[in-house]
């Protein structure tokens, strides 16, 4: 065989070999949920790792990782932080292909939670921490699958260098001086933000969105991104800022945060995935999330699902995550979300 022929044969062989290699590279450990809780803990240690997908703040997820790994040495926690628009399709693909990567998933999307109850996405959660009376399982767990994990309240955020007087009402954001310097979230693919816009259009004063348009807001993919934009001075004010601004304040960033009279909030619910490659470690993480140590990490500067967890909650208030209502799933189906998105784009991106 001459050289070019050999090369051609090698080339096609190499490509074919690659495909065949790919064929055999499945994923998932194939492990199954053990019987008793003690057996689950032992099996989780054997699994040795657990992965959570979440829309929560990266700082809090990092804190969760550290706290979980300190509690359970030998089990490493991987977190993937993204918006619902990033994460939900991944959960669906992993489920449909049987190539599970995530073990636990945390979301605020009421519509998706409701729809997924009709699918086989979730496994039943068996974590004993659910039985804690202070957690109030009857209020906090949906169909033994989704469990309340944390909550956020959105408020007014500002850059203290550029807005030294701060903000006290949503109308303060509409000051013409702030034109082009107000940051808002893009609801694209994120039902939670659609719910938020609908609510603040009423709660922040009649037709707030129509009035908000007049300051030509800049658009960001998430509240977390707005926090950074406030810190950098890229925007000076935000009417729906996340409370993790407080975390940036502690790092020395020139930012301020205040709750308006009628703040809008949203709870996070988590579920153990049926496609979890580490089903036992997943239950262990679910349990840890609901302990005081887990809450101190995941709910720092946010609302805890347990009372009196240091570093969580709103100063001077006993509000907990249970006080924040999940949106109405009937108003958050994909068609309705898409329609709102189109209207929103007409308003804010024209």
């Amino acid at each position: 065989m001459s050289f070019p022929k050999i090369k051609a044969a090698v080339a096609s062989g190499a490509a074919l070999a690659l495909i065949l290699t790919g064929c055999s590279s499945g994923s998932g450990s194939g492990s199954e949920l053990a019987g008793s809780w003690d057996e689950i803990v032992t099996a989780a240690r054997d699994e040795g790792s657990v992965t959570i997908y979440s829309t929560h703040s990266p700082d809090n997820l990092e804190a969760l990782k550290k706290a979980f790994e300190a509690e359970y040495p030998g089990i490493s926690l991987t977190y993937v932080r993204g918006t619902d628009a990033d994460i939900l399709p991944k959960i669906e693909v992993e489920n449909s292909t049987g190539s599970g990567v995530a073990d636990v998933h945390m979301t605020t999307d009421a519509g998706w939670i409701s729809r997924s109850l009709e699918t086989d996405y979730s496994a039943e959660v068996v974590a004993p921490a659910i039985e804690n009376p202070e957690y109030d399982a009857a209020e906090s767990v949906i169909e033994d699958k989704f469990f309340l994990t944390s909550a956020t309240v959105f408020g007014l955020g500002w850059n203290t260098t550029n807005v030294p007087e701060g903000l006290s009402t949503p109308d303060d954001v509409l000051n013409p001086r702030l034109q082009g310097k107000v940051g808002i979230q893009n609801p694209n693919g994120i039902a939670t933000y659609v719910d938020m816009y609908r609510k603040i259009d009423v709660d922040y004063g009649a037709d707030f969105l129509d009035r908000l348009v007049t300051v030509k807001p800049r658009v960001y993919p998430s509240a977390v991104a707005i926090t950074q934009a406030l810190a950098s001075g890229e925007v000076w004010a935000a009417p729906m800022a996340a409370s993790n601004i407080v975390t940036e304040q502690d790092k020395g960033a020139p930012v301020g945060f205040a709750l308006p009279e009628k703040p809008w909030g949203v709870p996070w619910y988590s579920h153990v995935l049926a496609s979890a490659p580490n089903p036992n470690a997943a239950q262990l993480l679910a349990d840890f999330l609901l302990t005081p140590a887990g809450q101190a990490a995941i709910s720092a500067d946010y609302l805890s699902v347990l009372p009196d967890v240091p570093g969580t909650g709103v100063p001077g208030s006993t509000v907990t995550a249970q006080d924040v209502e999940l949106g109405d799933p009937d108003t958050l189906d994909p068609e309705s979300v898409e329609q709102f998105q189109a209207e929103w784009e007409q308003k804010f991106l024209r």
Partner: protein, 557 residues
């Protein structure tokens, strides 16, 4: 034709057929799957995508981005190619400058421009606002998130590609042609227009075609910068449709269709315009001698381009990477190395570097023999007409069709039986192979064509067989080309973003996709440190390429 001859041809066909079939499966099948889906249920995908209220805006923005960034790239690329050919001897090192932006990953480059030109805290904007006539502004004057600046940044990023094609064309022009023209009485300008430009036609057409297609499929700048002001192009629409819940593959496919059609038209157009490529054999006894000598202005032009396209965005990235949070107000006590420490401690970053490097190397190693096989088929096997045509088209397609379309196609194809590769590195390698096949093939093809057949004939006349000729003449002559193609492919792949973003999973990430996630999360300072890391990884790749292929390996790109 003798019986023996036709038997030999059949043997050849059987050897090349599996290669073409594998290529067809990899390149064409995902595209067919996408189109089938878009046309299903009464073309529901098309109705969904083209029934959107903003579709006209999207189409207009896509066309404007492609056209104006092409103009910028053609002008800058050609001027730079001419300028580098006239550099004074001592300034020869500046020849590298127009190629270096390729070494800087596009995501890093784009975020670098954002750090400089963001209307609020952008460092250049802050400096501009110190000028008397802008001192009353509180933001701006430049808005990096506007379509105009997205076009300018895209134009800069395409300039290097145009430059590569045009300067390669210039260097391949034999001094004999120029001398012959001058001896025949032609002036310098006459020689340029009558000899140089016509011989540059393949380079110009290829360069313009490639830049147009890259502009049409441009994804990075619109995605990273355009979201703040709702700038949408077809490529970002594809991404959005394929990352909705539930995933709308049909609409994503429909969004990409105009790009596929234009891509195919440009690929065919290039073939028609170039015609018989053997007319462009330019190897002679003498290499290109610049017409008209050197000029210090050439050095100034190249240096200014380097400053604007390379040094400034990199400086922006470096400054942000050394601060605890991105802010327009800089002071020495803010400076920190915490973001570089975070590169190690933040989950996934080290893994993403390993994944990028490993998948890129495997893909390159697969591409080189495929490219050699196809190039040989096309140049040396004139008798296998159908296979040659097929190979030509299949290997040209990935050049014409934006990477994001292959990304979506691969996500669709490999999340379904029979081959479920979702979340594996194999699917990243496969899509990388497809994206690089045109480079692997074209570079070796061009070298084989330019070589002509006189060397092989000389070898045959001297008594060497085909294998000896291949091993002792052809391959040694191709070595610089193969090494250059390895360097180019490795560099392009470690930067790859558009296709990777579609086929990655949450925990199987490459550097660019993880950087994008952190950008979306607003972790700008970590993004800056990651951009430096990405550039360092590519820089290391270039250094290795230079060690293996010689110091001027980059110039051979």
């Amino acid at each position: 034709m003798t019986g023996l001859g036709s038997k030999a041809i059949w043997r050849q066909r059987l050897i090349y057929l599996p290669l073409i079939l594998v290529l067809g499966y990899l390149v064409v099948w995902p595209l067919i799957k996408l189109q089938t889906l878009a046309f299903e249920n009464g073309a529901r995908g098309y109705r969904s995508q083209y029934g959107r209220a903003d579709i006209l805006d999207t189409l207009q923005t896509t066309a404007a981005l492609a056209f104006f960034s092409l103009v910028i790239a053609m002008v800058c690329g050609t001027v730079l190619a001419f300028a580098t050919s006239r550099l004074p001897r001592r300034m020869g090192f500046l020849r590298l400058v127009p190629i270096l932006p390729i070494v800087i990953p596009s995501v890093a480059n784009v975020v670098g421009f954002a750090f400089l030109l963001s209307p609020g805290p952008g460092y250049i904007n802050i400096l501009l606002r110190m000028l008397p006539w802008w001192s009353d502004l509180q933001s701006g004057p430049v808005n990096v998130y506007s379509p105009t600046w997205i076009i300018i940044i895209t134009g800069f990023s395409l300039t290097s590609f145009v430059y590569l094609f045009v300067s390669a064309g210039m260097q391949n022009i034999s001094g004999e042609h120029l001398e012959a023209a001058q001896i025949s009485g032609s002036t310098t300008i006459g020689t340029f227009f009558k000899i140089v430009l016509p011989l540059l036609r393949p380079s110009l057409i290829y360069g313009a075609g490639v830049a147009l297609l890259l502009g049409l499929g441009q994804f990075t700048a619109p995605l990273l910068l355009g979201q703040n002001e709702g700038v949408k192009v077809l490529a970002t629409e594809m991404y959005l449709r394929a990352s909705e819940s539930p995933i709308n593959f049909a609409a994503a496919a429909a969004a990409g269709s105009p790009l596929v059609v234009v891509g195919i038209l440009v690929v065919f157009g290039q073939k028609v315009l170039l015609g018989n490529q053997s007319r462009f054999v330019t190897h002679g006894g003498k290499s290109f001698a610049p017409v008209g000598g050197s000029s210090p202005w050439a050095a100034v032009i190249v240096a200014v381009y380097g400053l604007v396209a390379l040094v400034l965005p990199l400086a922006g990235v470096i400054i942000v990477s050394l601060t605890p949070y991105w802010s327009g107000e800089l002071s020495w006590d803010l400076f920190t190395l915490a973001n570089y420490e975070a590169l190690i401690s933040t989950p996934g970053i080290v893994d993403s570097v390993v994944t990028s490097v490993v998948t890129s190397i495997i893909a390159v190693l697969i591409c080189v023999p495929i490219g050699f096989g196809v190039a040989n088929l096309m140049v040396r096997r004139q008798d296998l007409k159908i296979l040659r045509t097929l190979a030509d088209l299949v290997t040209a397609l990935p050049m014409g069709i934006p990477a994001v379309i292959f990304g979506v196609g691969f996500l669709l194809t490999y999340t379904e039986p029979p081959l479920i590769l979702y979340g594996t590195k194999a699917v990243i390698v496969l899509v990388y192979v497809v994206l690089m096949i045109p480079f692997a093939t074209r570079m070796q093809l061009t070298a084989l064509i330019s070589m002509g057949d006189k060397y092989e004939e000389a070898s045959a006349v001297s008594g060497a067989g085909p294998v000896a000729t291949m091993l002792r003449v052809t391959l040694p002559m191709l070595r610089p080309t193969i090494l250059s193609s390895i360097a180019l492919m490795f560099i392009l792949l470690t930067h790859e973003f558009a296709a990777s973003l579609m086929v990655r999973s949450a925990t199987t990430q490459v550097m660019g996709t993880l950087l994008y996630d952190h950008w979306s999360n607003g972790s700008y300072t970590l993004v800056a440190a990651m951009a430096i890391l990405m550039s360092a990884v590519t820089g290391a790749g270039v250094a290795v390429a230079m060690l293996v292929g010689g110091r001027n390996v980059l110039e051979k790109l």
